[in-house]
Subunit: 409 residues, 4 copies
């Protein structure tokens, strides 16, 4: 005896790979499919429609197949409302809770499809009945409250995976995937600059996620210039980045050492601790800028230009600075807010912070990952933005070239 | 004014990605498509058929599109014989020569489709008229002779890209792609062992491509055991691998140094040179084994068990050994022969030799790439075997575990 | 006009590199030296003594030179008591505070040298007057309280950098430095096993720092066995490691999926969230073990064998588990305690947690860093244990081979 | 019963590490030392002198110790002439042949020290008696002729390892070692540019070793400009580099594709083959330039500016071009000549060719290794130039920035 269910797919599902992935899912998980209707999109702009019956041996197998199909864009035919179940406790989800993708998602409530706010992957999907009718949004596990109406199963959920755009061209294309090692670096930098200009022209938000290597490798001045000139709307980093940036200002000149030359790592470290101590003494970065202790650099430009920043703490930090959020949950919440508001995210030489930001991004947000380690770039791209481009390059040459491209006109 | 041509595709073209790639090629290269017929495969074992018209602005654009479509499995409809043009000179191909993929390929000559022998990528396709009728085979550029009948254009050529197998399961699956870092190492080693056993049972040929790291990292004894026990049918390596292997035998015990402990690299290098000198003195590895100078190790077992080997020279070699083929073309020819005969190829910790072997492999040959550097594994898998698996691991633990799996039963 | 000061060095300072580094420091920082006395150690066991005058242009330059000399083992001659200055505020150090190394350190207080407790790098050195006389210990910046007597300058401080041992041999040697890629993996694993046995025989403490790759790569069972058999005395990890470990138990069998085979990453992630939800529901890992929800794995064995663990939170975590310490400072404090008690530290496939532990280790603690990424191993070894060994290998083959070595006797 | 021998060292042997390494060698190899005389260099410019007796259990052990001491700069006291033994056959060395370092080396013949020409590591040392008296030079194994007088043992040989320069500062310093990841990229590029300017002003020779990534990553035009402007005096590369460079010219514009944009790798490969075919048709690169087939790029500028190049073949090559030397020995000889003439070597993104060049370099030749893979940089620096600097960066941003630094003044 077998169990069966009918699903539908619609859109540019052949060249976007959706159709192939769905056939694959069924076969991989041991099921069968029977295509009941298939209207191919005859030309570039015509969409394809497919309705197929999925057959499995056991109910459990079918459920697993349907979960995967749903996450790949197939919708259970004969739409019914999504199943809602109350969360049994704070931070506890019902057994068959629907785990979200980062694609645009719709839930069927009271017979109508409503769009899920802030799509983010690996969340629960919570439906709230408001005065204006039902609303749906994602909730990370630790935000789930007892009694929250959590969607379970796959019924009544529609996911829209990214589609291959109808015209090629842009680097911010479709699953360009992989990494740029075969691309001319200078022209990729130009494309990134173009994208930043466009976001700025549209009053969008550019979020820059940065690691301390930017300072070591000599990209600090260029990044500070970009902040000053308004190309950066928000900054996400760790305690280490901020301290390295501030230390360059506090000690770069005062000790008579040319900040552009070789640093003595151990000695530098004493400065690192002392910088934290000094910033702590006055109460934080903003106070240090006001008191004239800090007079240049990335953090300085953030303060001067009202660019909001999140400094998230980690167990490898020294100090930390008073500005650093040491609680991981609290820091995640702050990062989540930044991620949701961003139109373009530049991830520069930091795995930890980039993953944290990437976890909160919908697949529709344009993302650029720059790192000298190809494994870092691959790992970030794999997390799932279809509009991401990766670039394996040296942040110490990338940042000045990007700034030159944007500022010297 | 536009130009147009009709192509056909058939097979499991949706879930194998062929159809999607073909639509993508047309759009990326600025063309349009018009699907004239589309019969979807309704269930797992049913094939899909598509006939579509491709439209481009210029003849040249159309040619570029057709070339890419062809390499992805589309065949020009209304089949005519392939166009043949004589090579204008030795090692010179006609302007529009057809550049091969490594997939099974068929050429239409005198109204009949004939299969191309030894499919190999980036070759010319040469048709010969023999007593038994026309034959087609690949020729690398430097093997092309003046007057050879070389196929030009895409007419009359059919390529069969790998299809997703109808049942999942095997690691040697379909474009499993990527790299194994998320896979349990021990179970991957078991699967590789299974595959080696199967090839042996079917009297197939296992080709092992090996780098010197096998010796450094302590995998030499295990590999020698595998050769002795008949799990290795051919060996492809460089001068360095052989010298390191022989050196262990010549000096590992005679100087009273425990070969399993830390080697002193510089001192070792004197042994390296002296080993080459000694083997050279007697005339080669086989002579050294016969004279009792070499009494164990991988090369020893190759000699004792009639396992043919190719040692290809390179500009970074010391010596080299008399057995090493120093001319790159000659070495490539020897490697090509090994590659064409192999049913399973194990590439162990060598980029240079693995690329050389991989260049000659058809996409149907099962291939395993093992290296500690993920970039090496990725680069090798990208070259194109659909039946390849990659494993990022330590050759010094991999080889003993593989030998244990195969030998201790 | 120049300034000058006399320093002394004593010990195996030539072959340990101390003497050479000290000459180098003076020259690099623009100073001059004048060796007043030099008694070379004539043979292996004889120590060398050197007294030299250091000359610089400016007081500030001299101070910089003396700081570096001190950190490399030179002591200011004519010993006077260390200078103590009260911390001006909580988490604020005096301007010229002495920044510690991770080597054994002594402070001169009231005319006597007292040993610094818990040497740890980049800390302040705080002297306390207790009933039993003065005591000295390290304090990280955020632990400094207003009024703490903090050592400033280099006067009255003696550092003992590691010396080259008089007999060679052990891998846990002296600045073996670098990475093991040229070493036979199996014999390195034997040496690590020997060291673990020895620590166990001496009732010492083995601290294992672990990343989630242990679970992915199939090393979980072996590590659980080592915990069960008493080879692991403490465990330091992140939320992710624990969840992956628990998830294998919760879902590895219950869903009928062979945990040893390929996991479906996305689907796996739903399990990941649900595991956190389930463990949270009962209140934590210990409760989950007691209630029989978790019946095997690393965390299970930790609970059953009273092996204390620290799970430190990070901004990339899901959940987290109730056991996870989300505040970075609190987590650091817990890690610091583990680090100070450890006699041998195994760092397995985690950069973040290994750096956090490594930051708290004295240079005398034996340390093993295992990772497939050579950059990770290098970065960890560079932080400064002279008794560290690094191994670039696959944790999925390393862990089973280590367990086999230790358990199958 | 023990055996003993007395050795001497002289120079800046403490801060250059020589003395410490020599003590270490004796202890590591199980010997004892007894320092008979030690005159420390009291100040920066004063040299240190040491005479010590080395004691070992067995003659063989002593020989091993003396070999290592010699290679580290110690000379057997009571100088006697070097021992010479005739090579027993072509490409065969006497048993105890002296294996060279790449440091400046002197041999004692007929009571006089003569300097070895072209010091190169892992060679035999051959003494020739000429009309002008005895001469000594290195010979790689395959150049050794029957009857050549080859030095054996360590007697009568003096090696001068690099010494720490007396003034710090230059990046081309002393064993700066390691890799630049912590250095500001832009300032490193400035220093490299300074060095290139200086070599040019002194009519020295800059050898550039280049890999195909230069072309892929967009650095081709910048490198061509540097050749045109006289900053490159010789070029060493493989067949692949030349073909990629030529292909850009042959197809970059003719097919209407913007060479600066994304290339289609497969399609590009057909061009690759066709480029080789076309260049072959006219007989080589020079002919192609003369016939106007090639009108720009790196190879074009080499031809136009009489910059000699070596293209060394490898087993992974397509074609190859008529200019490519396919025999590894012949190619090595050509590379050796380039290496011996170079005053500054830039190794850009190629492991194979950089190793081949590096093998032939004396330790006194300034070398810069640039690669995006830190393992490549480390491996090259480890081979032994004390005047080498390594830089982990993107060749696609490095090359334009270097050209801008040198050309835009």
């Amino acid at each position: 005896m077998t169990v069966t269910r009918t699903v539908e797919l619609e859109g540019h599902i052949i060249d976007s790979g959706t159709m192939g992935r769905c056939f694959g899912v069924v076969m991989d998980l041991g099921g069968e499919f029977d295509v009941e209707e298939f209207n191919v999109g005859r030309h570039k702009h015509a969409e394809t429609y497919c309705r197929m019956r999925v057959i499995a041996e056991e109910e459990e197998d079918l459920r697993a197949i349907l979960h995967e199909l749903n996450q790949n864009g197939a919708t259970v035919a004969d739409p019914r409302d999504a199943t809602l179940e109350a969360a049994p406790d704070d931070q506890v989800v019902p057994v068959e809770f629907y785990s979200t993708t980062n694609h645009p998602t719709f839930v069927r409530v009271d017979g109508a499809w409503i769009e899920v706010e802030d799509p983010e992957m690996d969340c629960a999907l919570v439906v709230e009945r408001t005065e204006d009718g039902p609303a749906a949004h994602t909730k990370v596990l630790n935000a789930v409250d007892e009694g929250d109406l959590v969607v379970t199963g796959e019924t009544g959920i529609r996911v829209e995976p990214p589609e291959r755009p109808r015209n090629g061209g842009s680097s911010f294309g479709f699953m360009q995937g992989g990494v740029s090692s075969e691309r001319p670096s200078a022209s990729l930098i130009e494309e990134i600059a173009d994208e930043m200009r466009e976001v700025r022209e549209n009053d969008g938000t550019v979020l820059v996620v940065c690691g301390p290597a930017i300072v070591h490798s000599g990209g600090r001045d260029a990044l500070a210039d970009l902040v000053r000139e308004g190309y950066v709307d928000a900054l996400s980093a760790g305690n280490g980045f901020a301290v390295h940036d501030l230390e360059r200002d506090l000690y770069g000149t005062s000790l008579g050492v040319d900040t552009e030359s070789l640093e003595h790592p151990r000695k530098g470290h004493k400065h690192h601790i002392y910088t934290i101590s000094e910033i702590g003494r006055v109460g934080g970065i903003e106070a240090a800028v006001e008191e004239g202790i800090v007079e240049e650099g990335v953090m300085y430009q953030c303060i001067q230009n009202d660019v909001p920043y999140v400094l998230a703490g980690s167990i490898r930090d020294d100090g930390p600075l008073p500005d650093t959020i040491t609680d991981a949950i609290e820091a995640q919440d702050a990062i989540r807010e930044q991620a949701h508001e961003a139109d373009l995210v530049l991830m520069l030489s930091t795995l930890l912070h980039s993953v944290a930001v990437g976890n909160c991004l919908p697949s529709t947000t344009k993302t650029v990952c720059v790192d000298i380690n190809p494994a870092t770039v691959t790992q970030l791209l794999d997390r799932g933005s279809a509009q991401a481009i990766g670039m394996v390059t040296d942040i110490g040459t990338f940042t000045p070239m990007l700034a030159e491209e944007l500022l010297e006109e």
